[in-house]
Structure formats: C-alpha cells, structure tokens
Point group: C2
Chain length 339, copies 2
C-alpha cells in the first residue's frame, strides 16, 4: 500500500475544518492523542485506530495542563522531526498530524469578547503562564471525581484533570469518531472512557493493549531517561510480573468455584500485593503504589471479593520510581465467572 502524505496542522480552526470536510465526504476519523517522542507503543495505537476509522489524526502535544510545577514538563523528551519520519514509515502512514503550538492560547477570543484590554499583554493565555491574574486565563477543568482519586491521581493531583481537559479540547477540535488510548495508562484510559460516557461525547473510546520491549518493560517515552543499570534492574521486576501473571492465571482463571471457596481467607490480594512490592524494591525501585482494583470502577478489591470470583476482572496497577524516572505498569487479570 502506498504511504500517505502526512499533513501537519497547527491551527485549531483548520483542524476542525479538515475533519468536517472529510466527514461531509462520508469518511470516518480516528484520533490517536500523543505527547510525541513516538515509539512502537504509539504505532500500535495507530494500527488499532486503522481498524475502526478510514482516516487517522495523530495529535502531538506536550500538555502543560497535566504537569505540576515540580514535575518533568521541561525534561519531557521530544523529537518532532523523528516523529514525523516514524509516522511516514509506518504501514499506511497517517493522514494528519495535529501539532498545535499552545492549546491554551485564546488571544483572539479575548479581543473579540471585548473585555478589559491590557496594552502590554500578549495573545497567549495559558493555565501555567497566566499568573498576572485578572480572570482571563484558562480556568475550565474537567474532573472525573471518583476514578481520578486513587493511584496516579494520589501522587499527581492535577494530572488527570489536565488529561481529561486536554482530551475534551482535542475531541472538540478534531471531532473524531473513534479515539484510541493505550491500556498501559490504565487509569487514564478508564477516566477518558468515563468522561466520554458522562459528557455524552460522540466519540468511541478504544483501549489498546500494552506493548512491551523484549525485556518486558512497558514502552514509554520516559524510558529514554533510564540508565543502563536501572534498565537492567527493572528487567527483573518485569520478569517477576510475568511469572506472577501466570501464577494468577492458574489460580483464578482455570480453577473451579469449589477451589475458590476453599481459598477463602487465604489473603490472595494481600499476598500478591506484598510480593510485587518486595520484588520492585529488590530491583532498586521506590514504590509509589501497588493496587489491585476492579477493572472498571478502579475500586480496591479485597481478598473476600476476589475469592468470591464475582463479576468482572481485576487489574494490578503499579507505579514506582527508578532513579529520577517514574514508571507505571499494570496487568489485567480476568476472574472466571462461575455460574
């Protein structure tokens, strides 16, 4: 198949016009939101999007709204030219790269709305840059109040409101039919899914399976910051996780209800959690959290609930620091439904 010419659009209005003209021709649009520094994981999201839509938009935008002042916005890796080359060399390519300069720039809007004018003010109003006050900066935030509370939301208090808000903006600008999110960012995926349901966005959200490097490490743009030593240590954890995954499968997927009954009170969750923590710490990691939660509600599952084997699946979510890099990972474990 011929490689598509990738158009680069930086302007919100042009982006929306493109979608609308394509939709008028009966085309469906798939969106893959990214912060750039693309890797195989991103490319797998694009491949997934292709299954659901005729035209693909990849957004590349490092969203300042989801970083706290003490987080790694300034060192977040970027390589726009490299990203474009990667996109052009993937099968089918993509149709548009949406790469806005500043998603929080409402300079024109302010002039139009006829509010207070300040002679020396620039057109840019950003949630991070507008510290002069005056009530004209970005101030609208979307919160998915339950799902954002635990796990990454605990240690990164503005993270998910920033993610939900920028994704809503992208949805309103690009107006896609489908958007693909990686299940590597599990909590993020569930939050976006819930936001779309609760705000009635006309977008189908697809969760795409995680891609791991050969050594088992979940692909992430932040991996580039890991030292070879750290990388090697992490390998141990990942290897451990794989073992544990198989172990859990044996325990929960293949065994009968009677066995479940017999296991009651065996503290499966607590045991699993403790083992994962020990393993990460042995590999030199500093635990942020290890949680075993319901796949959809992200509420903690206790030993009794897991041995009841009730309802949906669970997911083990992990965040840990290796040096200055904070990594996240997770494993879904589908608990057998007994009749």
């Amino acid at each position: 198949m011929a490689i598509r010419e990738t158009g680069i659009i930086r302007n919100k209005e042009q982006m929306r016009n493109w979608t609308r003209s394509m939709r008028a021709q009966g085309k469906t649009i798939g969106l893959v939101p990214t912060m750039g520094y693309l890797h195989q994981g991103h490319l797998s999201l694009i491949a997934e999007a292709r299954k659901h839509a005729q035209l693909i938009v990849v957004s590349i935008y490092v969203n300042p709204g989801q970083f706290s002042a003490n987080e790694d916005l300034s060192t977040y890796p970027s390589d726009f030219q490299g990203d474009i080359e990667k996109l052009q060399s993937t099968p089918d390519g993509v149709d548009v790269v949406f790469n806005p300069y500043n998603m929080y720039d409402y300079g024109e809007e302010r002039e139009r709305s006829g509010g207070k004018k300040r002679e020396k003010e620039e057109g840019v109003v950003s949630c991070l840059e507008d510290e002069r006050g005056g009530g004209f900066g970005h101030e609208t935030w979307i919160r998915v109040e339950g799902l954002e509370k635990g796990m990454c939301g605990k240690s990164r208090p503005v993270f998910f409101r920033g993610v939900a808000t920028v994704v809503a903006k992208l949805f309103n600008i690009i107006e896609p039919d489908v958007a693909v999110f990686g299940k590597k960012d599990y909590q993020q995926w569930r939050i976006i899914q819930r936001m779309v349901r609760d705000l009635d966005f006309a977008v189908k959200v697809i969760g795409s399976e995680m891609i791991r490097d050969k050594d088992g490490l979940a692909m992430s743009s932040r991996n580039v910051h890991l030292s070879p030593r750290e990388r090697e240590q992490i390998q141990t954890v990942m290897f451990f996780c794989d073992i544990y995954k198989n172990h859990m499968r044996a325990r929960h997927l293949s065994i009968s209800r009677s066995l479940f009954e017999a296991k009651k009170g065996k503290n499966i969750c607590s045991e699993l959690r403790r083992s994962v923590i020990e393993s990460i710490e042995a590999a030199g990691g500093k635990i942020d959290y290890v949680e075993i939660v319901d796949q959809e509600s992200l509420e903690a599952i206790n030993d009794e609930e897991i041995t009841r084997g009730g309802g949906g699946g669970v997911v083990i979510c992990v965040a840990a620091w290796f040096g200055k890099v904070r990594l996240i990972d997770n494993m879904e474990i589908d608990v057998l439904q007994h009749s």
Copy 2:
C-alpha cells in the same frame, strides 16, 4: 409565515442523528437550553436564535445536577403541554423540542463496557439517585474555577458545575452551531462562554437581553411562586433600579473624564451597593448578594477602578429572597472609555 411542526425527541442518539442529517443538508442549528415552564423571556431567546441559525432546537430538561439537596428541584414549576403550545404559537415555531427523561442514564453504556454486573440494578444511573456507590454513577463534572466562585456560586456550591456539565452534554448531543443564553442569568452566561472558549467547543454562544414584565420584574419561571403581596413589594425595587440605572448613566456614560477625576474617592461603588441593599430590604427582600463586578471577569470593581473609567463595562448583580423565592437580577453599566 407558516408555523412549523414541532418534533419532540427524547433520545440522545436520535437527537444527534437529527442534527447530523440536517447539517449534511447544509443547515445550521441553534440551541436554546431551558428547564421548561416557558415564558416571554424564553421566547425572546428563540427569536434571538433565529437570527443566527436556520433550525432551532429547544431543550426542556430540569437538570437535577444543578440543584443541591436543600434546593427547589421538587417544586420547580413544569407544564410540558403548555410549553409545547407556547412554542407552536410563536412566530416560526421551533423545529425540535429535546426533552430527555434522564440525561444521566447510562444503563446501556454500562452493559456495553462490560463492567461488574449487578443483577437487581436498574438501567438508570443518576448523580442524585446512585447512592449505592460502586463507582458506576455519573462522576464527571466541569468547573469554571474562577468565574463560578463568587455571587450565585457562593450560595449555591454545586449550581454552576451542574449547569456547565449539563450544557456540555447538550452541546455534545445536539451539536449546535449557536446556543443562546439569557443575560438575566449573567454569571451563568459568562461561565458558559468561558467554558466554550476553554474547551474549544465548536459552538457560538450568544447572550440575549433580559426581558422584564410590565412592572419591571425580570422574567423567571420561579416568579410563579411569588405571592401578590411579594410581587407588589418587588415592584418597588425594580422601580428603584431603573432610577438608579439612569442615575448611573448620567454619572458614568455622559460625563467627561475631568468629572471622573473629580469624583475620585467618592466611593461610587460602595454608595451604589449600599443603596441597592437598602432598597431591597425596604421591599421585604433578604439579600443574598449585591455585587458590582467586571462584565467579563466577574471580579469585584472598587471605587478607584470605576472612577478610572478604564476598559470594559461593569455589571451590578443582585440576588435576594422574597419569601421562599430566590430571585436574581442585574444591570450592565458601560463605563465610558476616555482617550
């Protein structure tokens, strides 16, 4: 002109399909969101919408998300049949009335997403009704964090998050080109305008002038709850406001910069505020707030700022209780720009 046949749509999907089929025919859509019990004020919003769009959707939905437990959701007046008759007898009528049963019902969605299933659960998940917990209820809220803080936001803490959220839902379902809001609900109008800017909604927000009854009372569905005695008392306030408005015009619109300079230190805002308070109290009202604020940022304007005559206009916003009815009103005052 012939009166249009008004279609009634209660289903979100059907509503969106209608807009999309109309847009595919090149039509533009105007939305007038209401909570029903329509009066002349609503009809003026519809007339305004007609100026900006070819087809008009009026939504009628009493949004539980914007009422606190102690507020008047249960006594909010309603007369759906009367509303339809009023709409059909207006010039041009309207094209669609969107009247959903429950905007927070995600029963189908939950089944699709494959989460925990609960045998005895009904399809309805409402922010107000879902107190069983479990993490499946509506939990996504939009906050316009600066503008929602003062005035009505102070005394009604969940009001504006409820309004912003339901309006975002309506925008996503109806996908209008234009939406018209009454300037009677001044803070609400500014919040929606800001939300649309900050979240990049493809909707043009129009603020429509307030409509007053013959006695000067701003039209509101809640006026029906006023006793004749209360109604009469309020008349006094409104009459006063009109005088004051003219007074302010004289003071601020028609006078020269030199006069402004001379007035410095004369406590114009404080005087005005005190007079309005006294007048409302004399009419038997119990003040919630009287604020003089910048028209766009809704930040309090002080005496020095108003005598500087700088930049945009100001607005006096008032909320007061008359018996069990809480009424709001406001007056825009455009301050002369001096060169």
